[in-house]
C-alpha cells in the first residue's frame, strides 16, 4: 500500500460541497426548445432520448412480427400466412431485433445518457460525431424499411449464402441498410473510448471508474474491431448479387462456408456487444439497491474485457455441423467453454454483493433478480450447445432458439428494462408507478418463461427452427409458447403505458431517489444542459457506501463564490492509483 502510494503523484485541489439542486429551474429538457433544437442537438442526453424513441419503435415492430410468427405457429399447417410470407416475417423479426434493437440499445440509449454523467464530463468527446451516428442509424433504418416495402427479404437474419445470393426479394437494400448501420455502431464505439480516456473528471482513476463504464468500454472495443468485418462481408455479398463476382456462391466458384466464417466473426462478438453493456447495468443496480460496495470490482471489470477478447475466438461454434474440420471444432468448443468462466464469475460476484447488504426490492432490483435467473438458464444451456456431441443433436433446433432468447431477452432486455427503470427518474425527473412496474415485471417473467421453456423441450425432441409447418406432436409446445408470447406482449404494453403516464403525472423524483453514491446521482434530475454546475472531484469509488454522502458531492471550488466552506483534498494525478 505504501509503495503504491509513493509512486502516485497527488495534486492539491480546492474543493467544496455542491449539493444537487432539488428544484432546478433549468434543465436539459427545457433549456433549448422546439423540434429543430432537438434534431440538431449535440447534447448527449437528448441524443440518447432520440435513440430511445427510435429503438422503442423498432422493438415494437420486431415484437409485432414475433407475435405474427407465434400466431401462425398455433396450428401445424398454414393458419393465415403462406410459407414465403412467414419466411420474410421471421427474417425481419431477427434482423430488426438484432441490428436495430439489441446491438444499439444499451450503448446508444443508456450509454449515451449516462456515460458523460458518470464521468463528470459535460458531454462525450465528439458531440457532433455522436449526432452524426444517430443520423447514420436512421439512414440505415430507412434503407431497411425500404427493403421491407419493396420485395422483402427471406434469407433469415444470417443471410447465409448461396441461398441469399440466389433468392428473390430486396436483399441488397437490406444488407446495405445493415452496412450503413455498422458505421453508426463504430462511431459510437470510438466516441465512448475517447471519452472514457480523456474526459474523466479530476480524481476519477481507472480504479474508480463505474463498472457500467468498464462494460461500455469493453463493448466499444468489440464494436470497433468486429463491425468492419460485417461491413466487408455484406459488401462482398452485395458484389456477388449485383455484379456476379463469385465469392460465396459455388455456382460462381465461391465457398458458402467462407461466408459463415466471415459472418460469425462479427456476429458472435456482436452477441457480446448486446449483453456486456447489460452486465454494466446490473453491476450499478445491484450495488445501489444493496447499498453496499460491489464485491470483486476488478473481477467484474476485467472479466468484461476477458469476455470481449475471448469472444473474438469462438465464432466457429456456430458451425459445428457446417463441415469445418474436427480440429477447428475442438478448438472452438474449448474456447467457448472458456468464455463461460468470466461470465460465471460475474454472476457469483453480483450475488455476493447482496450478502449482508441492505436490500431494497425496488423495480430495478426486481429486474436484476429476473435477469440473474433467466441469464443463468441462458448461460447453462450455452454450455449444452457448446458440448460438441450434444450440439450435433441440438444445432438449428428450437433449443438454440430458446437458448438465444434466454440470453438476449432474458439477459439483455431484462437488464435494459432494469436500466431504464433505474435511470428513468434521472432522465425525466419523474417517478413511475412502483406497483404497476412490479406487476409488469411479474407478467413479463411468467410470459417469457412460458414462451421459451417449451421451446427447449421441443428443440431437444428434434423440432427444427425456421419451420413454417411442423409435425403434430409439437403442437402443445407451440401453443403454450404462443400464449406466453401474448402475455409478454401485454407486459411490454403495460411498461409503455405507465412510463408514458409518469412523464405527465409522475411524482417528482428528486436528484437521488435511490440514495446512490454514483456520480450521475449527484446532480439535479433532470440534469442541467451541461450535466453539472461545477467540475466534480472524485475521491472515493462509486460503490463506497460506507463513506458519507457529502464526500461524493465535491466539486472544484470556484473563486467567485465565497459562501461555502472550502477544503483541500489530495487527488491522484496519475491513473495508476491502486485502490
Amino acid at each position: 500500500m505504501a509503495t503504491s502510494e509513493a509512486s502516485t503523484t497527488y495534486k492539491k485541489i480546492q474543493v467544496r460541497r455542491y449539493k444537487p439542486e432539488e428544484n432546478p429551474e433549468k434543465n436539459y429538457l427545457n433549456e433549448e426548445k422546439g423540434l429543430w433544437a432537438w434534431l440538431t442537438t449535440v447534447d448527449h442526453k437528448k441524443i440518447g432520448l432520440m435513440y430511445l424513441a427510435s429503438i422503442a419503435f423498432f422493438f415494437l415492430v420486431g415484437g409485432i412480427l414475433a407475435l405474427i410468427l407465434r400466431t401462425e405457429l398455433w396450428t401445424p399447417a398454414r393458419s393465415f400466412l403462406d410459407a414465403d410470407l412467414y419466411n420474410q416475417v421471421f427474417t425481419l423479426h431477427g434482423a430488426i431485433m438484432v441490428f436495430f434493437f439489441l446491438v444499439p440499445s444499451v450503448p446508444t440509449v443508456l450509454g449515451n445518457f449516462v456515460l458523460p454523467l458518470q464521468l463528470g464530463a459535460k458531454d462525450v468527446a465528439f458531440p457532433r460525431l455522436n449526432l452524426a451516428s444517430f443520423y447514420i442509424y436512421l439512414i440505415g433504418a430507412l434503407f431497411t424499411l425500404t427493403a421491407i416495402l419493396t420485395g422483402g427479404v427471406d434469407t433469415g437474419w444470417t443471410f447465409y449464402t448461396p441461398y441469399s445470393a440466389t433468392t428473390g426479394g430486396n436483399v441488397i437494400m437490406m444488407t446495405l441498410g445493415v452496412f450503413i448501420l455498422g458505421f453508426s455502431s463504430i462511431l459510437t464505439g470510438v466516441n465512448f473510448i475517447v471519452t472514457i480516456h480523456k474526459l474523466r473528471s479530476p480524481g476519477m482513476t481507472w480504479a474508480k471508474l463505474p463498472l457500467n463504464l468498464w462494460a461500455l468500454y469493453a463493448t466499444s472495443i468489440i464494436q470497433i474491431l468486429a463491425t468492419p468485418v460485417l461491413a466487408i462481408t455484406l459488401l462482398l455479398l452485395t458484389m456477388e448479387r449485383a455484379l456476379g463476382i463469385g465469392i460465396f456462391d459455388p455456382a460462381l466458384g465461391g465457398d458458402p462456408v467462407l461466408y459463415q466464417h466471415f459472418f460469425w466473426f462479427y456476429s458472435h462478438p456482436a452477441v457480446y456487444i448486446m449483453i456486456v453493456p447489460g452486465f454494466g447495468i446490473i453491476s450499478e443496480v445491484v450495488s445501489t439497491f444493496s447499498k453496499k460496495i460491489i464485491f470483486g470490482y476488478w473481477a467484474i471489470a476485467l472479466s468484461s474485457l476477458a469476455i470481449a477478447f475471448i469472444g473474438f475466438l469462438v465464432w466457429g461454434h456456430h458451425m459445428f455441423t457446417a463441415g469445418q474440420s474436427s480440429l477447428a471444432n475442438l478448438v472452438f468448443s474449448f474456447l467457448t467453454f472458456m468464455v463461460g468462466i468470466p461470465t460465471g464469475i460475474k454472476i457469483f460476484n453480483w450475488v455476493a454483493t447482496m450478502y449482508k447488504g441492505s436490500i431494497d426490492m425496488k423495480t430495478p432490483m426486481v429486474y436484476v433478480m429476473i435477469f440473474l435467473f433467466l441469464f443463468m438458464i441462458g448461460g447453462f444451456t450455452g454450455i449444452m450447445v457448446g458440448a460438441l456431441s450434444v450440439d450435433i443433436h441440438l444445432h438449428d433446433t428450437y433449443y438454440v432458439v430458446a437458448h438465444f432468447h434466454y440470453v438476449m431477452v432474458g439477459g439483455m432486455v431484462m437488464a435494459f428494462l432494469g436500466g431504464i427503470h433505474y435511470w428513468w427518474p434521472k432522465m425525466f425527473g419523474k417517478m413511475y408507478s412502483e406497483l404497476w412496474a412490479k406487476i409488469a415485471a411479474g407478467i413479463l417473467f411468467i410470459g417469457f418463461n412460458m414462451t421459451f421453456l417449451p421451446q427447449f423441450i421441443m428443440g431437444s425432441q428434434g423440432m427444427p427452427r425456421r419451420y413454417f409447418n411442423y409435425l403434430e406432436q409439437f403442437q402443445p409446445f407451440h401453443q403454450t409458447s404462443t400464449v406466453g408470447a401474448y402475455l409478454m406482449g401485454t407486459g411490454f404494453l403495460i411498461v409503455a403505458i405507465y412510463l408514458t403516464y409518469s412523464l405527465f403525472k409522475g411524482k417528482k423524483a428528486g436528484p437521488n431517489p435511490w440514495g446512490s453514491r454514483a456520480l450521475e446521482w449527484q446532480t439535479a434530475s433532470p440534469p442541467p444542459l451541461h450535466n453539472f454546475e461545477h467540475i466534480p472531484v472524485i475521491i472515493n469509488g462509486p460503490y463506497d457506501y460506507h463513506k458519507p454522502m457529502s464526500e461524493f458531492q465535491l466539486g472544484v471550488a470556484s473563486k467567485h463564490n465565497g459562501h461555502h466552506a472550502e477544503e483541500t483534498v489530495d487527488v491522484p494525478e496519475s491513473a495508476q492509483e491502486k485502490a
Binding site: T321, S326, I341, F348, S358, M361, V390
Partner: protein, 313 residues
C-alpha cells in the same frame, strides 16, 4: 429428473445416441443444481438482508480471494469435463467404421434423394439395415441443406460444393423422421424424409424388389407410385390446392400461362420438359425453384407419370 430428461429427448435408436444423452443428462443435472442453488441464495439474501431503514450500514466486503478462486476453479473443472466428454463422443460420431454400408444422398430444394450401391434410387425414403453401420455421403444440388435424424442424434450440413458425410448404426427396426435443418427457402419445413430401418434380410429384399419400381404395374398406377416416391406432392397437390408449385388437378390439356406472357399447352411434351428442365417454362405466379429430375427418372417412368396426370381431372 431422469424422467424429465427422458421426456425431453426423442427415442434413442442408434448406437451413439445413449452416449450423447448421457452428457445431455449430466449437463442438465449439474446446471439444475447450480441454478437452483444460486437462485435460492439470491432469494434468501433478498429476504434476510432486506432494507430495514434508510440508515442501514453495510460492511465493506470488497473481495475474498479464496472464495473467488473456488468459484472460478470448480466451474473450470466442470466445463473441462463437459468439453472432453463432448469431444470424445463427437470423434466417434465423425469416424465411421470402415465396413459401413454407403448410401449417396443428394439434397435439392426441397427433397432428399438416396442412391444405393445397386443403382436404386429412392426419394424422401431412406432404407437401411438394422445393426449395421451406414455411412451417408452427401451433397447438395443447390443451396445448403442439413440432414438431421433426431432419433439417431446425428446432423450434418449438406453443401453444394463438396461432400460431407454422416454415419449411424440403427439399433431398432421402424421409422424415424429426417428433417432439413438448414433454412433453404419456401418449402424448407416440408423437406422431410423417413428412415426405414429393416432387418438385414428385409433390407436386401427391398433393395432387389423396389428397384424394379413397379415396371409390371399398369402405367397409371406406376405413375401414381412414382409421383409419391419422388415427392412431387411436396409442391404439387392433386386436389387443386395451391402449394409451392401448380396443382396437377385439372392441369392436363389446359393452357399454362407463362411468366413472359405466352401460354403453352399442358401436354406430353410440356410435362416431359418440366420434369427434365423444370425452369425452362415456368407457370405464371410461381417461382422457378423446381429441381431437375434428369438422371433420376427415365423415359418409361416419365411416360407413367404423364398417364397418371391425365387421370387427375
Amino acid at each position: 429428473m431422469n424422467r424429465l430428461i427422458e421426456y425431453m429427448l426423442p427415442p434413442a435408436k442408434s448406437t451413439l445416441a445413449g452416449e450423447t444423452d448421457a452428457l445431455f443428462a449430466f449437463i442438465n443435472i449439474s446446471s439444475f443444481i447450480f441454478i437452483i442453488g444460486i437462485t435460492l441464495t439470491m432469494l434468501y439474501f433478498a429476504w434476510r438482508y432486506r432494507r430495514k431503514s434508510d440508515d442501514d450500514v453495510t460492511p465493506v466486503i470488497s473481495h475474498n480471494n479464496i472464495l473467488e478462486i473456488t468459484w472460478s476453479v470448480i466451474p473450470l473443472i466442470l466445463v473441462i469435463i463437459v468439453f472432453s466428454w463432448g469431444y470424445s463422443t463427437y470423434m466417434k460420431k465423425i469416424s465411421p467404421p470402415s465396413d459401413a454400408y454407403e448410401v449417396r444422398v443428394v439434397g435439392k430444394s426441397w427433397l432428399w434423394e438416396f442412391h444405393y450401391d445397386n443403382g436404386n434410387v429412392s426419394v424422401n425414403e431412406l432404407h437401411v439395415p438394422e445393426n449395421r453401420p451406414v455411412k451417408l455421403i452427401m451433397s447438395s444440388d443447390d443451396v445448403i441443406h442439413s440432414f438431421y435424424v433426431p432419433d439417431f442424434r446425428v446432423k450434418m450440413d449438406v453443401l453444394p460444393n463438396r461432400y460431407t458425410s454422416v454415419w449411424f448404426e440403427a439399433t431398432e427396426q421402424g421409422e424415424s423422421t429426417v428433417y432439413c435443418t438448414e433454412y433453404c427457402g419456401t418449402a424448407h419445413s416440408n423437406m422431410l424424409a423417413t428412415v426405414h430401418v429393416h432387418s438385414q434380410e428385409d433390407f436386401e429384399d427391398w433393395l432387389e424388389t423396389s428397384g424394379g419400381s413397379g415396371e409390371d404395374l399398369p402405367p397409371v398406377e406406376r405413375g401414381e407410385m412414382l409421383v409419391q416416391q419422388n415427392a412431387c406432392m411436396t409442391c404439387h397437390s392433386t386436389d387443386g390446392s395451391r402449394l409451392t408449385g401448380p396443382t396437377f388437378q385439372g392441369a392436363w390439356g389446359s393452357d399454362v400461362p407463362l411468366e413472359n406472357g405466352e401460354t403453352v399447352q399442358f401436354d406430353e411434351n410440356y410435362v416431359r420438359e418440366s420434369i427434365l428442365e423444370p425452369n425452362a417454362k415456368v407457370h405464371q405466379g410461381f417461382q422457378p425453384v423446381m429441381p431437375s429430375y434428369a438422371g433420376t427418372l427415365d423415359d418409361r417412368q416419365i411416360d407413367a407419370i404423364i398417364e397418371y396426370i391425365k387421370t387427375l381431372q
